[in-house]
């Protein structure tokens, strides 16, 4: 087991290296650079700036220098936030995105399993139709709209109750976290609902369930130990990358709810072509994603003993 994990970690490092390299060269191949600004600058100033940031060196040299810094854990200084180290940026803002993301995934997983199992059980009856209708509606509406509408709902709620029960924006307390993480998790929740439903339906009519029923196993146990546990597997597969995706994709929610997470940096860095932040966030998220995948794969082996991990 541990050999497996170690092997995976080693592979992870290689993967992250590939990610960094591909991103580095893609970034430099795109027109524009972080020094361009609304006010044009003269040749000499531009030359100065390029020299200062090492952008006048040949590309391969820049790459090697960057890798060297990377191995020492130095992501450099941001081009747009000119006085902040990228390390500091990640260190200060990632935990917020992580908290938001974890909460969102927990909501999504709990909700997804619950609704999915419900629709599978009450198949073709009213709960099924209602939930599926909501799911389809939820994914057909852009996430921006859902976020904006939910914020508006909060305002109306607070006005109705006469005081700020749930803060409309911001970060810091439990009350700040609730709605944004719910909104963030909605899309994944819808997806997991569907997945769970499909998975449950397949299992419901499978042979071993029939056997168990015939054997006289109590229905509760059939449900939990056999149906749920097996149906959950695809959900688990999706969960790991979901955490990574949600944490990076929190851009819309972070913008609408004024949450100082890393998601906003991730998107704005590309728009601003902030080289160091792009590289820093990409490498960091890449590592995070790789790690989550490893966790999930290992978990898989635990949940389904038939699966052999090599």
């Amino acid at each position: 087991m541990w050999m497996y994990v170690l092997k995976r970690l080693a592979q992870g490092v290689i993967t992250v290296w590939f990610i960094a390299t591909a991103t580095f060269f893609a970034m430099h191949s795109v027109p524009g650079d972080p020094l361009l600004n609304e006010r044009a600058m003269s040749e000499s100033i531009r030359a100065n700036l390029e020299a200062r940031y090492g952008l006048d060196q040949p590309l391969m040299t820049q790459y090697v220098i960057y890798l060297g810094n990377l191995s020492r854990g130095d992501f450099g200084i941001s081009f747009t936030q000119e006085n902040r180290q990228v390390n500091d940026i990640i260190r200060e803002h990632f935990p917020i995105s992580a908290i938001l993301g974890v909460l969102a995934v927990v909501f999504a997983a709990a909700g997804g399993v619950l609704w999915g199992a419900l629709t599978a059980l009450y198949r073709n009856r009213l709960p099924d139709y209602i939930i599926m209708f909501l799911v389809i509606l939820g994914i057909s509406v852009p996430s921006f709209v859902i976020a904006a509408l939910s914020q508006l709902a909060l305002v109306n709620l607070n006005t109705l109750l006469g005081s700020t029960v749930l803060p409309v924006a911001g970060w810091g307390t439990v009350r700040h976290m609730l709605v944004p993480s719910l909104v963030l998790g909605l899309g994944t929740m819808a997806y997991l609902t569907r997945l769970m439903r499909s998975s449950m339906l397949e299992i419901i009519s499978s042979d071993y369930i029939r056997t168990a029923k015939a054997k006289g196993v109590p229905p509760a146990r059939i449900f939990t130990r056999h149906q749920l546990r097996n149906a959950i597997l695809p959900v688990i597969t999706v969960l790991g990358p979901s955490i990574a995706a949600i944490t990076t994709g929190g851009f819309v929610v972070e913008l609408v709810f004024a949450i100082p997470g890393l998601g906003r940096f991730f998107v704005q860095a590309v728009q601003q072509l902030d080289y160091t932040v792009i590289m820093g966030t990409t490498v960091f998220y890449g590592a995070f994603l790789v790690f989550m995948v490893i966790v999930v794969d290992v978990l898989y082996g635990f949940i389904d003993p038939r699966v052999r991990l090599e």
């Binding site: 650079d33 000499s44 000119e82 709990a110 199992a117 409309v168 700040h176 229905p219």
Partner: protein, 572 residues
């Protein structure tokens, strides 16, 4: 191992199974909720350590004499010598002060300088002796000398070093050809600043109010070890407020600077920047929830604002937007008749009133916006721009002349470069349909995000680009010198010796009347030669808490000015 008959029923119906499973699910839901509650609690503990808003103070805090506001974004650069964006400008305006500053009605007033004298060859500023830094030390002329040298130092690589180019040798120092000490600014003594001009600069007093001209203390800068401006304690303040707390990307707190000299400025004890977001909807919701003291309103929000019976106000932000044409010889737009056709076939009024529908935008009749001052009154009052008349028939004639001059059978498609903001997309689509309808031209919209658009503008990869220009200082020259042959911001590379001549006159002449005449000439030339096609001047509708008074919005320097704001609760 379960055996049949072990006390549980051996065969059960589908119905029973479903019910049982349903109960299991309900149980599961309860466990899940419990687990989530515990998780929430744990996470909230974690969140507290990440630096948070805590409990926001609400829009107006009468007890503490403070208000709560938002910023568009995290200020990227609070080192005044290097700052180049609006958000940093707003923050710096409140926590720092230059030689001159702005009064409650936007007029230029003494700042650190008590009085000054402008001459043809230079200027002298006499500093007041009670201006202090936030650590109690006096603000001296040496601080200005140090800061200005630093701003033109090539090692600092400031985006805005060009704004000091009226000072003697600034340009040469900036390109590294002369050492710093050659810069034409000196401290005759602790409280007297002598400036030598590179060329006559009658509007120098307007220039020194800009952030790049703010002072900086050398010993403090050295003590920060290159981290100046990175955090609240890595800065020294000489303005009405100081930054006492800064949680990056989340919040800031500005408290009254006890050492600030002007008792007629800075009436609020604290200003809490509790949120940093550019989402207009989020700000509106925060305002409705009484969490912030003011917010801007976009056009779709106005009906709701009117329904709420809010007092809506508006201000002109200062930027002029225009269609910048490419004057290079190989471009269609390089042809005079073609440009004339484009100019006559459109009307900015229709763009603003019908297509953009923003109540706070004004159709622009000229390169110069409304607030620019002339000799004694507004420039556009003293030198009214020639009114624009849309004339499609004449436009078509000019188009035909262009076609013959260029020897074309048909016109190839034109490329309209634009950014990704929603407003610019609407304007682009409007013009695309308009020119197709009125002139039969095919316009291709080239939508690019920020850096790619700048890169294309830099190399002139466009026929027409939706561009805008905001004022750096309160003088017509900030717009007037845009289209000289030497200005790098002249993306269309318009090259006309007569324009250059007019601008030089406007730059150097000491007689305000002669200057304004030159600007009037520039205004007319821009129209006659179709250098650009002005579209609109940008403004914003906004709403503020009725208890907040003295809150100003400006076109120059900072968009929001809370330094004269105070809380006024009407008596019962």
């Amino acid at each position: 191992m379960d055996k049949p008959g072990d006390g549980n029923s051996s065969v059960f119906t589908e119905q029973e199974f479903t019910h049982s499973a349903g109960r299991q699910l309900a149980l599961f839901a309860c466990y899940a909720l419990l687990a989530i509650a515990v998780l929430l609690y744990l996470l909230s503990l974690a969140a507290r350590s990440t630096g948070s808003n805590g409990v926001a103070s609400g829009a107006i805090d009468i007890v503490n004499n403070s208000i709560s506001i938002t910023l568009q974004d995290e200020p990227p650069q609070l080192d005044a010598s290097r700052a180049s964006d609006a958000v940093s400008g707003t923050v710096l305006f409140h926590v720092m002060e230059g030689l001159l500053s702005y009064g409650p009605s936007g007029e230029l007033v003494p700042g650190v300088a008590q009085r000054w004298e402008l001459r043809a060859d230079g200027a002298t500023f006499w500093l007041r002796e009670n201006a202090r830094w936030s650590d109690g030390e006096p603000v001296t002329a040496h601080d200005f000398v140090f800061s200005w040298r630093r701003a033109v130092d090539p090692a600092t690589a400031s985006d805005y070093s060009f704004i000091l180019y009226s000072v003697k040798n600034a340009e040469l120092v900036n390109s590294g050809e002369l050492p710093l000490s050659y810069l034409g600014v000196n401290a005759r003594d602790d409280y007297t600043l002598e400036v030598e001009f590179e060329r006559p600069t009658p509007f120098f007093d307007k220039l020194v109010a800009f952030a790049t001209y703010y002072p900086m203390r050398e010993d403090f800068l050295n003590s920060t070890n290159g981290r100046y401006g990175a955090d609240a304690d890595m800065m020294l303040y000489n303005g009405p407020y100081m930054i006492t707390s800064w949680v990056h990307n989340a919040s800031m707190r500005w408290e009254k600077n006890p050492f600030y000299w002007n008792e007629n400025r800075g009436f609020l004890d604290a200003i809490n920047v509790d949120y940093m977001t550019s989402d207009v909807n989020a700000k509106l919701n925060l305002f409705k929830d009484r969490q912030i003291a003011d917010t801007t309103l976009s056009a779709p929000m106005l009906p709701s604002a009117m329904e709420q019976r809010w007092h809506i106000d508006r201000f002109m932000e200062g930027t002029v937007f225009f269609l910048e044409l490419n004057h290079r010889a190989e471009r269609l737009t390089g042809n005079y008749h073609f440009r004339k056709a484009l100019q006559l076939a459109q009307d900015p009024a229709e763009l603003v009133y019908r297509a953009l529908k923003e109540a706070s935008y004004l159709p622009a009749p000229s390169l110069f916006p409304e607030f620019i001052r002339g000799v004694d009154d507004l420039f556009r009052k003293e030198y009214p721009p020639e009114p624009h008349r849309m004339d499609v028939a004449a436009a078509r004639e000019h188009l035909e002349m262009a076609r013959q001059e260029l020897g074309l059978q048909e016109f190839p498609p034109l490329v309209l470069l634009t950014g990704d903001s929603p407003i610019s997309m609407v304007a682009a689509e409007y013009y695309q349909a308009l020119y197709r309808k009125n002139l039969g031209l095919e316009i291709r919209i080239d939508a690019q995000i920020f850096k790619q658009r700048l890169a294309k503008m830099d190399v002139g990869d466009f026929d027409i680009v939706l561009a805008g220009w905001g004022p750096d200082y309160d003088d017509a020259l900030t717009f007037g010198d845009l289209f000289t042959s030497w200005n790098l911001n002249n993306h269309g590379r318009y090259n006309n010796p007569q324009m250059d001549e007019l601008v030089r006159t406007a730059q150097e002449s000491l007689d305000p009347r002669i200057r304004m005449e030159a600007f009037a000439g520039i205004q007319q030339m821009v129209k006659d030669d179709v250098v650009i096609i002005p579209m609109y001047e940008r403004g914003y509708a906004f709403v503020a808490d009725p208890r907040l008074k003295g809150f100003e919005r400006r076109s120059i320097g900072t968009e929001m000015d809370y330094s004269y704001a105070y809380i006024d609760v009407p008596d019962e």
